[in-house]
């Protein structure tokens, strides 16, 4: 069920902003769909097929890689049940035993933050996924798998996302510059702005 992120805004006009009414609360930010100029699922799917089901979504932090990967996984899941999503933690150089089990038992694997894996960890991941039909990763730099798409952000993109969450006008361009294009960080800072306003 999609959260109603606009609901409650008016409630706070005359009083303090409650966490549950903050338009930038985590459930609302996390529920925003991936968007980018010229983005289309068809192009992405064709590229994936051209690379035999293997590829990487690349881009800096906070530019929508994880959002895109999660959405892609949802699309797969409806047709192919044998799907797994593995998220690597900060400085996690090797897969955990649970993650190894999940990967070995799946046909379609979505690996988030693959840049965290060290050389050995990455070789292990490749070995485990050798028979998988799909392996899509997100990473900061190209190189590990053929690049399917590079996530980019823009002030217009940020403005569009803000408009989806609130009717209040914010200077999206200044925010985008201040957070160096990191959309997630920009939206988090708006949470604090609303909470303290």
């Amino acid at each position: 069920m999609a959260p109603d992120c606009r609901h409650g805004e008016e409630e706070n006009v005359l009083e303090k902003m409650k966490a549950r009414n903050n338009p930038f609360r985590s459930e609302c930010v996390d529920a925003l769909p991936y968007r980018a100029e010229g983005f289309s699922w068809d192009i992405l799917t064709t590229r994936l097929q051209a690379h035999q089901g293997r590829g990487a979504i690349i881009g800096p932090e906070g530019h929508g890689k994880t959002t895109l990967l999660l959405e892609w996984k949802q699309r797969f899941q409806s047709n192919a049940p044998s799907t797994c999503f593995v998220k690597l933690e900060d400085r996690q150089h090797r897969l955990t035993s649970d993650q190894r089990k999940m990967i070995s038992g799946s046909q379609h694997i979505f690996l988030d933050s693959a840049e965290q894996l060290g050389w050995w960890g990455w070789q292990e991941a490749l070995k485990l996924t050798i028979h998988a039909k799909t392996l899509i990763i997100t990473t900061h730099r190209p190189g590990r798998l053929p690049t399917l798409m590079e996530c980019r952000s823009s002030p217009q993109l940020l403005a569009g996302l803000i408009a989806e969450l609130t009717s209040h006008p914010f200077d999206a361009e200044a925010l985008w510059v201040r957070h160096r294009g990191n959309i997630r960080l920009a939206l988090r800072s708006l949470y604090d702005h609303c909470a303290s306003s």
Binding site: M1, K18, R20, N22, R25, S26, E27, A195
Partner: protein, 135 residues
């Protein structure tokens, strides 16, 4: 799926009985039908949630209407601060298929605890401190 959760009211005190009716209409008879009483958080942090009670409806039909009786727990109460809001809810889960949820408020006095109270942050104000503490 067409479903509705109709509790007698949406505000309860801890320990009170939550009564009401759920109705649904689906294309096929659901394999399982269950009503859950749960809390969840909203705010800056990632979501936490926990199902506290559940009522399973036997032999659910394609079109059905069932009464439910649950008890409002003592803890945690519904509250709201700058970073966290805790909300109670009732969720009807029909398998296979979708789910439907409504918000409830469970707190003493039937009022959500408000953490943003100016008088609680006046540390240098000697007058205010007398409100709670006397030495």
């Amino acid at each position: 799926m067409n479903a509705e959760i109709r509790p007698e009211r949406t505000t309860y005190q801890p320990g009170e009985t939550i009564e009401g009716v759920v109705t649904w209409s689906t294309q096929k008879p659901p394999r399982r039908a269950e009503l859950r009483l749960f809390w969840h958080t909203k705010g800056k942090g990632d979501r936490d949630s926990e199902t506290v009670q559940q009522q399973v409806f036997d032999m659910p039909q394609q079109q059905d209407s069932r009464a439910f009786v649950l008890q409002a727990p003592d803890f945690p109460p519904s509250f709201s601060g700058r970073l966290i809001s805790l909300m109670w809810g009732l969720e009807l889960v029909l398998e296979p298929g979708d789910s439907q949820a409504i918000d409830l408020l469970i707190a003493t006095g039937g009022k959500e605890l408000d953490l943003q109270r100016e008088e609680w942050l006046q540390i240098a104000d000697t007058e205010k401190k007398k409100m709670f503490w006397k030495r």
